[in-house]
């Protein structure tokens, strides 16, 4: 029994609670500072978790306690190579967001920090719990805080639009996760357990193929809304476009990962026959998402929406990797997950910074010539865009390559021709991605400077630099990540990996 993971989840929640009861008079001044302190403490705990578990196979730091015996719901938690990188990503991005708020000083910062801390609780909980019902609960925890973040602190020029975006996000996700709950209950009805580890070990034992397909469809639907998978992505462009910078960063950086993480942790091992039956469809939709995201990007004139659509494409790669049901594909998916969190998180920081300077994220409003006007910001933007389009040597490359490699040689039971077609579509998508990011770099960075310079401040650079450094490090040494994901993935897929 280890208390580290309960502590990890409880820390941000306690911080949120403290802020809620803090006397109003001083709370707004202290809000951001409390946020930074709590997020830093959480980050420190997650580093401790990493130190204690790095390189060790299997579930670590497990804790277990009965919560609702009547429903067979247990607090079960643990980390392995699949969840650890996501936990670190979450605590890091949360900390950077809090630091960004320290400089930014939005209105009602206390309530915003409170929402972000609740959000962090939900995401961390989702990544460490090993009980299906608890997973569902934490999956839902993030919704209300995120709704407030978008609806209350979103786009200042469009109160009705940001409210609508927040509500569409909320309702689609809730409908999806309620269906996911139905899937979990179907699994429980046939196996008698909500324990993810036990379910993974059983590998679908006790469920007929038909039941597994049904459960996999229901569970997959809920996760696919979150991921998001085309055509369930419709909430995403608006939510990202209207959310404040910190909201977009966390939404893209970690919230989407809850969906893909669920696929890897639950969908693939717990209902394997169902996953096998549905994997070709998932692969096709993922491939459509990759191509669709790229084309949609080409048509965007708003930087934030563009990055949002690029997320649809990137998450398409992740889903394609998962659909291959091979160690290579799943590893690629997990690497792409982390890379997307770092790169897109950074892109949203940059887009937010540009939006603050120009009052709008429209490419025309930002204007040309960033290299001349603000060389440092432009350099970071160019590097990040290159990382996002999958330039070798940066983090974005490895995930996409492994994913396509996985699609080239999917699990034996899967139709290879379909996956080859998906792989080709993915390749085309990757080329289109290159096209639109190069287009953006050309539009924004090059050319004659049009408007007044607005260089990135040292504070901003300090906030962005961890993400930038990690993008380069993971690009040069993907083995760092793969050494811990690979054993966990092979364990998950059983002997046939």
């Amino acid at each position: 029994m280890s208390w580290l993971l309960p502590l990890l989840v409880a820390l941000p929640a306690t911080g949120a609670l403290a802020l809620a009861v803090w006397p109003r008079s001083s709370a707004d001044r202290l809000g951001a500072m409390v946020g930074v302190a709590v997020a830093a403490a959480t980050f420190a705990v997650s580093l401790l978790v990493a130190v204690l578990t790095w390189g060790r196979d299997g579930m670590r730091l497990e804790s277990e306690a009965a919560w609702i015996p009547a429903l067979d719901v247990w607090w079960r938690a643990g980390v392995d190579g699949i969840s650890l990188p996501l936990v670190l990503l979450t605590t890091l991005l949360s900390l950077l967001c809090m630091v960004a708020l320290l400089w930014e000083r939005p209105e009602r910062v206390r309530a915003l920090v409170l929402s972000l801390l609740l959000l962090e609780t939900g995401v961390l909980g989702t990544f460490v719990v090993l009980d299906l019902v608890l997973f569902f609960v934490f999956f839902e925890v993030v919704l209300i805080p995120m709704w407030f973040v978008i609806a209350d602190w979103g786009d200042r020029h469009d109160p009705a639009g940001r409210r609508r975006a927040a509500t569409v996000f909320l309702l689609l996700t809730v409908a999806g996760s309620a269906v996911m709950l139905v899937g979990f209950l179907v699994v429980h009805a046939h196996t008698g357990t909500f324990d993810m580890v036990e379910l993974a070990e059983r590998g679908g034992l006790g469920m007929s193929t038909q039941v597994q397909v049904l459960a996999a469809a229901a569970i997959g639907l809920g996760l696919a809304v979150k991921a998001p998978m085309w055509p369930l992505h419709i909430w995403l462009p608006d939510a990202h476009g209207k959310a404040p910078t910190v909201g977009s960063v966390l939404l893209a950086g970690v919230l989407l990962k809850m969906g893909t993480y669920g696929f890897v942790r639950i969908w693939v091992p717990a209902v394997p026959e169902g996953a096998q039956a549905l994997a070709p469809y998932l692969a096709c939709l993922a491939a459509v998402g990759i191509v669709y995201g790229s084309f949609a990007c080409l048509a965007q004139s708003d930087l934030k929406r563009l990055v949002a659509y690029s997320s649809v494409g990137h998450m398409g790669f992740v889903l394609l990797g998962i659909a291959t049901l091979t160690p290579v594909g799943l590893n690629g998916a997990l690497v792409a997950n982390i890379a997307h969190g770092l790169i897109t998180g950074l892109l949203f920081f940059l887009a937010g910074a540009l939006k603050d300077r120009h009052g709008s994220a429209e490419l025309t409003a930002i204007g040309r010539g960033l290299y001349a006007r603000s060389p440092r910001l432009a350099a970071v933007l160019a590097v990040t865009a290159m990382a996002s389009l999958g330039l070798p040597g940066l983090a974005g490359f490895w995930g996409e390559m492994l994913t396509l490699l996985g699609a080239f040689d999917p699990a034996e039971a899967l139709p290879r021709a379909t996956f080859l077609a998906c792989m080709v579509a993915g390749g085309v998508g990757a080329v289109l991605t290159a096209a639109y990011f190069l287009h953006v770099v050309r539009r924004l960075c090059q050319g004659e400077p049009e408007t007044a310079p607005a260089e990135a401040s040292t504070r901003e650079l300090a906030t962005w630099s961890p993400l930038l450094v990690l993008t380069v490090v993971l690009g040069l040494a993907p083995g760092l990540l793969l050494t811990i994901t690979d054993p966990a993935v092979r364990l998950l897929l059983g002997g046939d990996g």
């Binding site: 609702i68 009547a70 429903l71 609740l118 609960v137 925890v141 919704l143 409210r163 309620a178 179907v186």
Partner: protein, 485 residues
Amino acid sequence: MSTVQAIDWAATAPLLAVAVTAVVVLVVDAFTHHPRWAGLLSVLGLAVATVSVLPLVGDDRATFCLPDGRGCSFVVDELTIGFWVVVLAGTLLTVMLSAVGAIDDRVPTGEHHFLLLCSAAGALAIAGARDLATLVIALELVSLPAFALVGLKRGDRRSAEAALKFFLVSVVATAVMLYGISLVYGVTGSMHVGGIRAALADGAEPAGVLAIGVVLSLFGLLFKVAAVPLHGWVPDTYVGAPPAVAAYLSVVSKAAGFVALLVLLSRAFGEYGEVWGPILAAVAALTMTVGNVLALRQRHAVRLLAWSSVGQSGFMLAPLAVVADGRAEVSGAAAEAVLAYLLIYSVVNLGAFAVVAAVSRHRPAGAISDYQGLVRRQPWAGVGLAFALLCLAGLPPGIAGLFAKVVVFESVVTGGLGWLAVVMAVNVAIGLAYYVRWMAVVLGPVGEDSASPEVHPAVAAAIGATLVAAIGLSVVPSAVLGLLG
């Protein structure tokens, strides 16, 4: 053989305590001119009733039995006690919301409390009733005072109209129910649930008549729980009545309908599950969908809560559709799901109505926009309402509401009604849309009206009690889950 039945006074004590208090309140009110007495006496009576429940916990009792052992009319078991808790707590909170100065000044206090306690006595009786005649009489004892409660506001035409509408729909539903009961009695020759169950199991003929009788007997109860298509009275009645009465109708009176449905379906009509099971499933799906969709359009607080309570009824009806499942664990879980949902729903719905009662005292128009920034003007009322709405929606941090939904989903899924589970999933999203909209108003910035309304201490206590209970249930949901096991 003696024809005089032995009466177990201890088993009927809670109900008698409430009934006697009702009479005392009326008499005292007639001779004193101090309206506060009614409330204090009511609280006292409910406290006595609660204390008299305690010795009955964990001890199944039956009374008013037929001499030859063919059945008992009044039974106290886990289900009865679980439901008594809802009635007593719900009535107590209603009394708190009815305190002088908290309720509309045009409501005569003594009569109001008298009627309230009479109706509560009926609700207590329903939970123990195990024969059809007792059930109908208890049901009428709940309903008749309720009509008057709704229409008691002096000189308010809307109140009178609401009472009339309520009355007319109720009479029709009761008449149909009585017709159904007469058919059931005619074929089976028994009024007791055990006797009916035995007759049904033996294949009583003519089965067609019996099937019609069974379905029609459910009518009056479906009216009580505001199931579609017998829901039309709900919005107007809730809006016309004082908030305290609307709270009572949406919790105690509705709970009475649910416990009667539970008893009839699981203990008398189980054999005909194929007949009424699909009907109830369809009614549940319709009820939650109609209630939630119509709630979406509401701009009036009580009207919104009225439609939301129709929607919530749908969720409680859903497990009833599988309560006669042949597998014991499925039917048992379904009964538990109904009771757990009912308990949690009662707490949070009363909490929401308590805040509505506090606010509508100062802003009688009752628009949702009156709640703008409530959390800044009246922090506890605002937090109480926001938390209650989250629980009704079933989203964290309203974990209590979330698990209420989880148990219902579980019983429907294990019962094999996958399609109903999907309808429920969609309805969770629809419901959330209006709950979260209202919650955003409550938690949002203060609007033009920045005055902090004074909250009556009794109402404040009611808000606090429900909030504490809701938070408690969110931390320890197991307190109300699996009660009947």
